[in-house]
């Protein structure tokens, strides 16, 4: 029996195990939305209020669950509104399939109404993308799209769907297997390289693990923790790697880099062996590249060969999936002569203990409400059974510093692209994936305003997402840079007008709460958590508070500005 393009699309989504999509309708996707009504039992559609919200929500859904996030939008402006979200997912290697409507094939290139060359626009910010020109190619393209999104280094795939192709019909059969001659990611690390790496680790007196988001993507936290623990190797992570190693473990040093902890930045500078796992030596991590970890041999495990020796030359590259490689390494260690590793590394661990003691993360408690205090309170009350999303800026860095992430996929944040407005829709996506979990977006007043319209989505679907706004009435991180590097010339970073977030929440049908003093913080958090409704908590914080430590851009990691 023949099926229409729209039916084939939805059948294919079902075959891929998709039960939730985030979207916003329009003219070019009219057929798909019409057909979607017949699939409402099997595929849940979450109607957002802006296409950027759809793609960030699909992203939050994917990061929290490990499944492929799917969103559906119309042509032209619908498609271009997803671009920031697509680029966000691309930078952080999030598996997404973005379905965009397109004008009918005969009109493509004619500057038709709501036409945009979205395949051209997103070529540099997708892992791959497709324009479906013939309904007979549709099933295979959807199959390939999901395969590409979730395998290798994951990433967003965009599929552009012209209106006539969706109305056209053909026989449907979904391919069961897939083989692409030009796409074969390497999963198993090279055995000889792994052996060499293990020998190096066994000999090292001052080793350090530097773990990134790749560990979380490959579900390798257990193996990472085993490696650190068994062989007494201290661990630091990138922003994206937080949660891959238990944040409360004595071997954990906190985040590394521009706003990294003193012990992490000192250790990475003084170690004799650096084991990078699923991390890519980003400029926010390395600081001045020439001065980065100057005394160490470097092992780099990554599934993407382009990440290796891109910014920092590496001694032992291992291309492969982090989980597989770490498993092989642990196995390979069994052949090494047993040693008392903690004894061998006692001096190193003692030195690190010293750094931890002399310069811990801290802040000055002042007269006003401190953002760090709010985050610590949230952590204290929720424990670790919570999903935290963040916006971008000071709120993100304070969360990374002062919230202790002990499990993978509990911090969802835009690391690579640094997208303000990401956290709230991402929290909605995570809440859709985990309806019973506590999901909190730790936000700034600037970022939250960028996708505040999604409050309507949260209310409509009764998603009890909590937003904790660290409200300093300004664009805090930029203002911090202006304070430090522009001689306190605060050019356009202080908001003269800001909405009353409590009233705003109420206008959308959500709950608004406010705390202006330290003693109000705990009651507000407890009340918010007691309500199974979306809640916006407005924490009016000390606007002069800055994020420390801070390494100025381009400076070596040892040049930290401390509190």
């Amino acid at each position: 029996m023949k099926k229409t393009g729209a039916e084939i699309l939805l059948e294919s989504l079902k075959q891929e195990g998709v039960d939730t999509i985030f979207g916003f309708p329009g003219g070019a996707v009219l057929n798909i939305y019409d057909t979607l009504l017949r699939y409402s039992e099997e595929i849940r559609h979450i109607l957002v209020r802006h296409e950027q919200g759809a793609v960030h929500a699909a992203d939050g859904y994917a990061r929290s669950s490990g499944k492929v996030g799917v969103c559906l939008v119309t042509s032209g402006p619908g498609a271009t509104n997803t671009v920031t979200g697509v680029a966000t997912a691309y930078m952080d290697s999030v598996p997404l399939v973005v379905l965009t409507g397109q004008v009918p094939t005969l009109l493509i290139g004619n500057d038709a109404f709501q036409e945009a060359d979205i395949v051209g626009i997103t070529r540099p910010c997708t892992k791959h993308n497709y324009l479906v020109k013939d309904v007979r190619d549709l099933a295979l393209i959807v199959k390939q799209a999901f395969h590409l999104a979730r395998t290798g280094r994951p990433g967003p795939i965009l599929v552009d769907l012209p209106k006539d192709v969706m109305a056209d019909s053909t026989e449907f059969s979904y391919p069961s297997k897939i083989k692409m001659r030009s796409y074969n990611p390497t999963y198993q690390g090279h055995a000889g390289q792994i052996k060499r790496a293990v020998k190096l680790i066994a000999k090292a007196h001052k080793p350090l693990i530097y773990a990134g988001g790749g560990v979380i993507l490959s579900n390798a936290s257990k193996e990472l923790t085993a490696l650190g623990q068994k062989f007494s190797i201290p661990v630091t992570t990138t922003l994206m790697g937080l949660g891959s190693f238990p944040g409360n473990h004595p071997l954990f040093l906190g985040m590394v880099g521009m706003h990294g902890t003193f012990p992490a930045n000192m250790s990475i500078t003084h170690c004799d062996l650096l084991i990078a796992i699923g991390a890519r030596f980003d400029d926010r991590v390395t600081g001045k590249v020439e001065a980065f970890s100057p005394h160490s041999k470097k092992i780099h495990i990554d599934i993407d060969p382009t990440s290796i020796s891109k910014n920092v030359p590496v001694d032992i590259p291992i291309v492969g999936d982090a989980k597989n490689v770490l498993k092989s390494m642990l196995k390979s260690f069994e052949e090494e002569p047993a040693q008392d590793w903690s004894k061998m590394r006692a001096d190193w661990l003692k030195q690190i203990g010293e750094w931890k003691r002399t310069s811990p993360l801290t802040y000055n408690s002042g007269p006003g409400l401190k953002p760090q205090f709010v985050i610590q309170k949230i952590n204290e009350i929720t424990g670790d059974d919570v999903i935290i999303t963040t916006e971008v800026g000071q709120n993100q860095m304070w969360t990374a510093q002062f919230f202790s992430f002990t499990k993978p996929r509990t911090l969802i944040t835009s690391g690579g692209l640094g997208t303000m407005g990401f956290g709230f829709p991402a929290a909605i996506g995570a809440q859709v994936a985990f309806p019973e979990k506590i999901v909190i977006d730790i936000a700034g007043d600037g970022s939250f305003q960028m996708n505040v319209q999604e409050l309507a989505t949260a209310v409509q679907y009764n998603l009890p997402v909590k937003v904790a706004i660290l409200n300093n009435h300004c664009l805090g991180m930029v203002r911090q840079w202006q304070q430090l590097f522009c001689d306190k010339r605060y050019s356009h970073t202080v908001f003269e007008v800001i909405p009353d977030f409590v009233k705003l929440a109420e206008a959308y049908g959500a709950v608004g709460l406010r705390a202006t003093k330290s003693e109000e913080v705990e009651p507000v958090i407890r009340e918010a958590l007691s309500l199974r409704r979306p809640v916006v908590m407005d924490f009016v914080i000390d606007p002069s508070e800055c994020v420390y430590p801070m390494v100025p851009a381009g400076a070596p990691l040892t040049e930290m500005l401390l509190v």
């Binding site: 395949v119 051209g120 070529r123 540099p124 892992k127 791959h128 324009l131 590409l148 692409m180 001659r181 030009s182 796409y183 074969n184 390497t186 090279h190 055995a191 000889g192 390289q193 993407d304 060969p305 382009t306 290796i308 020796s309 891109k310 030359p313 590259p317 291992i318 291309v319």
Partner: protein
């Protein structure tokens, strides 16, 4: 250093744009780029000439391999290969200089492909060095216009090229 890189790609719309976009987006330079179908009509071959230090060339090859439509990448530089490019050169040729231009064309085993009262259009084929020599010798007569293809290259040894797919990180043999 100058590198000649040969790339096998899916013969599909948009692939050229993916490759050229990769170069512009990442700040790699392209000196020349050639694309044409291979014996297998589903595959095209690109020959591109680029410049960079070892680290940049390594990134270029890895980034090319990462594109889903790229099947294989060969860096011909450093191996045994032949490269040729063709130029069409419109050069001033009046009564007094015609004979001399023709002599130069002959030396370079070129051909005259079009004649007008005041000019010759010449076809010259060769490697980079020969092209430069021909242009230098013709310049004094006044080159009105020149169109160059940029080089295409082929390996002298194995089919497709000296290196197998460089998708994997360079790892020593055990």
């Amino acid at each position: 250093m100058r590198h000649v890189i040969s790339v096998l790609v899916d013969n599909q719309p948009g692939v050229l744009s993916r490759v050229s976009g990769l170069f512009s987006g990442r700040g790699f330079n392209i000196e020349s780029l050639n694309v044409a179908e291979t014996l297998d009509p589903s595959i095209s071959r690109m020959t591109l000439v680029t410049r960079g230090n070892d680290q940049i060339i390594e990134q270029i090859i890895k980034q090319l391999n990462k594109l889903v439509n790229v099947i294989k990448v060969f860096d011909l530089t450093g191996s045994d290969y032949v490269d040729r490019e063709m130029a069409l050169i419109k050069v001033n040729a009046n009564a007094s200089s015609r004979a001399e231009v023709l002599r130069i064309v002959e030396i370079f085993r070129g051909r005259v492909v079009d004649v007008s009262p005041k000019s010759y259009t010449l076809e010259v084929t060769g490697d980079d060095k020969k092209m430069r020599a021909a242009i230098d010798l013709l310049a004094p007569f006044g080159i009105m216009e020149i169109v160059r293809t940029g080089p295409v290259a082929i390996s002298r040894t194995k089919k497709n090229g000296p290196n197998s797919s460089q998708r994997r990180e360079k790892e020593p043999q055990d």
